[in-house]
Symmetry: C2
DNA sequence: CCGAATCCTGAATGATACTG
DNA sequence: CAGTATCATTCAGGATTCGG
């Protein structure tokens, strides 16, 4: 179960890393509202750079979580949408986000306590 | 909700990153079975380096997810244990891990399809 | 036994400019 | 509009060594 050579574990680790990266969760949640074009996504997440949005979408697409639909017109049009797999992932993700929001206070308090202990240790 | 200056969002992002880092989830799951000493953890997760285990534990401790109990004896003894907060986090994490295991096949298939498409594009 | 300090490498991120 | 290419920077992670 903890064998790093086990391909299942590698896949789980990969997914966790994707979730841990800076934009994937935000993009998935944003697409949870429905299909969006590239620049609509950019506007919905103002702090993401064009490059990182592209890379994030490519990774999500590779994992089968997001579908990419190109309409060859002028100007070009590319729509991104959660796949069924992507939709199903939003449930556990929401569980995690919900937990975070429920426990933001406790986490901040713990961090403050910890940092205070570090301060007095540094002062000694 | 997506404002990067919102402290709640920063906390959520921080938690997601912790989850995405290479060892935190593994440590939390391992400690789910009960209190363990430092080297017991190392043996339970053979691939982790001493340094990364120390850092991971410090981060988890700072967030209030893990408690660290020092028994000043010779040799020294340090026990790590999930706090109540840490215990409660295992539920959403398990949801995520469960989802991964349920969908490993679909993810692999999607990746294979994607990579194949990339290959033929590269061959053109 | 537990951990801190140091050094090093690769990957993630970001700013900027260019293209069909 | 929707990218790709390039460059610079930062940081996580790992190997090694030393200390209490």
């Amino acid at each position: 179960m903890k064998d790093p050579n086990n391909p299942v574990c590698q896949t789980i680790t990969g997914l966790l890393q994707r979730i841990g990266d800076k934009w994937s969760v935000l993009v998935v949640e944003t697409l949870g509202g429905g299909s969006l074009r590239f620049n609509e996504l950019r506007r919905a997440i103002p702090s993401v750079s064009q490059r990182m949005l592209t890379l994030t979408l490519r990774n999500l697409e590779r994992d089968g979580l997001v579908s990419r639909t190109v309409t060859p017109s002028i100007p070009p049009r590319v729509d991104y949408e959660l796949t069924e797999l992507g939709q199903s992932l939003t449930k556990p993700i929401c569980g995690l986000v919900q937990w975070s929001m429920d426990n933001v206070g406790a986490i901040h308090a713990a961090q403050a306590r910890y940092d205070e202990g570090q301060d007095e240790a540094a002062a000694a």
